[in-house]
């Protein structure tokens, strides 16, 4: 994973106040740790959970840091290093793979100018792979955050990338 400049800055994304706010919204309940961490990750704007945020969650919820770390490394959706604002995950499971997922991957790589597994220099996009997302009847599928895109053509890929880059959800409707 290419490291982007502010990963080194020791910046706590999101702010400590926001992290505590999120933890409070779950009643500081240790059972809700996973949901809280997912929200914290989303609020980071860079799709990851900062160490400092993990430490705050650990202290507030009284869950040892060793166990918070286990959660962040066990579950595929979490990252402990900053990724792009948009993480595009292409399904790599067998049904999608054998419906030419590799070709779709190359379309994304070209449109984004990154190789699979990397983040672009502006920190906008990370391109990676994921296990089945349950869209096998429209494969190959790509997941971006909460949204899943199916029946991807080269044109759709281009329009999707543009819409994400411009942060314009409306233009993605029906894609």
């Amino acid at each position: 994973m290419t490291k982007t400049p502010d990963a080194e800055a020791g910046f706590c994304r999101p702010s400590e106040e926001r992290v505590l706010e999120i933890l409070d919204s779950y009643g500081n309940d240790p059972q809700q740790l996973i949901a809280a961490l997912l929200d914290i990750q989303e609020a980071s704007g860079r799709n990851y959970v900062d160490r400092r945020a993990a430490e705050l969650a650990s202290a507030r919820l009284k869950v040892p840091l060793t166990q918070v770390y286990e959660i962040l490394t066990f579950y595929s959706m979490f990252a402990t290093e900053p990724r792009g604002r948009c993480v595009i995950e292409l399904c790599e499971s067998a049904p999608c793979h054998f419906q030419e997922a590799e070709r779709v991957l190359s379309w994304f790589e070209n449109a984004l100018d990154v190789k699979c597994g990397e983040t672009d220099a502006d920190g906008v996009f990370t391109l990676s792979r994921t296990s089945c997302v349950g869209a096998c009847d429209g494969g190959p599928a790509a997941r971006v955050g909460d949204e899943v895109f199916v029946n991807l053509t080269r044109d759709k890929v281009a329009r999707l990338v543009k819409s994400l880059r411009e942060d314009d959800p409306a233009s993605r409707e029906g894609l």
Binding site: V68, Y69, E70, T80
Partner: protein, 553 residues
């Protein structure tokens, strides 16, 4: 902590490989099998840890079919016919151990656990043959953490015993079992160094590790170089608890290696002086008694909490910071020996002080004490290395007496009876902690050992706690309430110092299961002594103080 809880009310009858067995309800198939002489192979199972059933070596067939069951985690039931060694089971076990060996390092010759390794034993016993590599990612290189614990992740078999003992046993929680699948790994979170987290270097992880992935650090080479020096006076003390470890690895009959024989060996090997550790234990107790008596007078800061090592303070820092102000000196005799020898003996500046004990945390203490007086804090492994490399047959050695510890003439100061009373009680309790847990009435092993002492005519309660997990439970129980003791001694290891992190791992944990002192049955040298060398200890105490010595730990 799991101790066997069979229901002695109800009996279950079953067969194991056709052999009839009759055991209390609640017994595991593994235990029932052992009882009739059928030993089912295991790797992740340990009697002193919660069962995890992850190695899958102990799987057995019940009633001729169906899913295989893990014998360690399955309780017997009435009439079951267990098969432990069908052709299929033998193939399955062989496959499993071969899978473990597939990308395991092949450097047994130089591994600290060579000839003492559970994986080696299993490979041999299960007839492992082919174990090609399946292309593992390069694991992190071996490293020694804080000079105390050596970790070699390439050797890890991912049994996660270490995480279990640290989290559920010691309740210290320094290790994570992180990631998934082949990336599954154990270690501090975020790849931190052990010393930056909750680790107190108790070494339980090293004791329970079945292979050479976690071991006590080894300074035998440096020690031998020191012994070769002609300009120094290498001097040693050793705790009697190391004797069993040496016996085990040198195949000597238990109880045959007496302290004075070991003393002979050390002299032969190059130590110029071997002193009786008991003298320094006693003197250390007097120093601690000073702290205790002062606190009793003030009525403040009670109880005096004394851990077996300074590194254990971290335990309170992390888990019970509001109790930190109660911590006082641990009173390591090895450290007192080094301080007093160098200060009081004529050739003090030439002395290289070495202390052998079954402790791992004391290694850490000595190293943290940068430029400190104890040159070598050594554990059982290094002692057995020394013996092995010298080829000595310890059984044939004659005994030779300890060297006297000559002090300048005693100051003539009167003995302080109150101080000595307190010291006697402290020493009694500390010695119990060193020699280990014993059976109480009703067959339970005592985790908390109370002692009622009289100091200056007043009765006072003291407590010894075996293991950080038990200490965690105690402090949790008394959260927000006063702790009703004047002196509270906590030894890191649940079996006592004799089963410390620096002891031979194969000797650790056995006594808990069988409820008796397997290490030295019956071993008079571990009978709790009264404050020995009282006069000499007092003189040492006075002399050290008069020369401006400070023994705060």
């Amino acid at each position: 902590m799991r101790e066997a809880t069979p229901n002695t009310e109800k009996t279950v009858n079953l067969t194991i490989d056709g052999i009839p067995a009759s055991v209390p309800a609640g017994t595991s198939i593994l235990e029932a099998a052992r009882g009739v002489g059928v030993v089912i192979p295991t790797l992740c199972d340990r009697e002193d840890l919660p069962k995890r059933a992850v190695c899958r070596l102990c799987v057995v067939e019940c009633d001729g079919g169906g899913r295989l069951k893990a014998a360690c985690a399955t309780e017997v039931w009435e009439g079951v016919a267990v098969a432990t060694a069908t052709p299929e089971l033998r193939r399955v076990r062989k496959s499993i151990v071969e899978m473990l060996l597939a990308d395991h390092p092949r450097d047994c010759f130089v591994c600290p656990r060579n000839l003492n390794c559970e994986l080696q034993r299993l490979a041999f016993e299960l007839g492992a043959r082919e174990f090609p590599s399946y292309g593992k990612e390069l694991p992190p290189a071996p490293a020694v953490e804080a000079g105390t614990i050596a970790r070699d992740p390439a050797k890890c078999v991912k049994c996660a015993r270490c995480v279990a003992v640290c989290r559920e046993g010691q309740k210290t929680g320094a290790l994570s079992a992180s990631f998934r699948s082949a990336s599954f790994q154990v270690g501090p979170p975020y790849g931190d160094a052990l010393q930056d987290g909750a680790c107190v270097f108790c070494g339980r992880c090293a004791s329970v590790c079945p292979v050479g992935a976690i071991t006590a650090s080894d300074r035998t080479d440096a020690l031998e170089a020191a012994l070769d020096r002609t300009d120094a006076v290498p001097s040693a003390v050793f705790a009697d608890e190391v004797l069993s470890g040496v016996e085990a690895s040198r195949a000597l009959p238990p109880g045959s290696l007496t302290p004075l024989k070991l003393s002979t060996f050390l002299k032969l090997r190059g130590f110029r002086k071997v002193y009786p550790r008991a003298l320094f234990s006693a003197a250390a107790a007097i120093f601690k008694a000073e702290t205790l008596v002062k606190r009793l007078k003030d009525g403040s800061a009670l109880p005096f909490i004394s851990f077996c090592s300074e590194s254990s303070r971290r335990f309170l820092e992390i888990h019970f910071p509001d109790l930190l102000f109660l911590v006082g000196p641990s009173g390591d005799p090895g450290r007192l020996f080094s301080l007093s020898a160098k200060k009081l003996l004529p050739d003090g500046e030439k002395i290289l002080a070495a202390s052998f004990s079954p402790s791992l945390s004391k290694k850490r203490d000595a190293l943290k004490d940068e430029g400190g007086p104890l040159d070598f804090a050594l554990s059982v492994g290094e002692l057995t290395n020394l013996v092995a490399r010298s080829g000595a047959d310890l059984g044939k050695l004659a005994e030779s007496p300890y060297d006297p510890f000559p002090l300048s003439a005693p100051s003539g100061a009167e003995k302080d009876p109150i101080l000595l009373e307190a010291a006697g009680a402290i020493r009694l309790l500390d010695a119990r902690g060193e020699s280990g847990r014993i059976l109480e009435e009703g067959g339970k092993l005592g985790e908390r050992v109370p002692l009622e002492a009289a100091i200056g005519g007043r009765k006072t309660n003291m407590l010894l706690v075996f293991g950080l997990g038990a200490a965690h439970d105690l402090f949790t129980e008394f959260r927000g309430k006063p702790l009703p003791w004047s002196y509270l001694r906590v030894v890191n290891c649940p079996g006592g110092c004799v089963e410390g992190g620096g002891q031979d791992p194969t000797l650790v944990g056995k006594r808990l299961a069988r409820g008796r002192n397997v290490l030295k049955t019956p071993d008079p040298r571990l009978a709790i002594p009264p404050l020995p060398h009282e006069a000499a200890a007092w003189d040492l105490f006075r002399a050290f103080k008069e020369r401006g010595g400070v023994f705060s730990s």
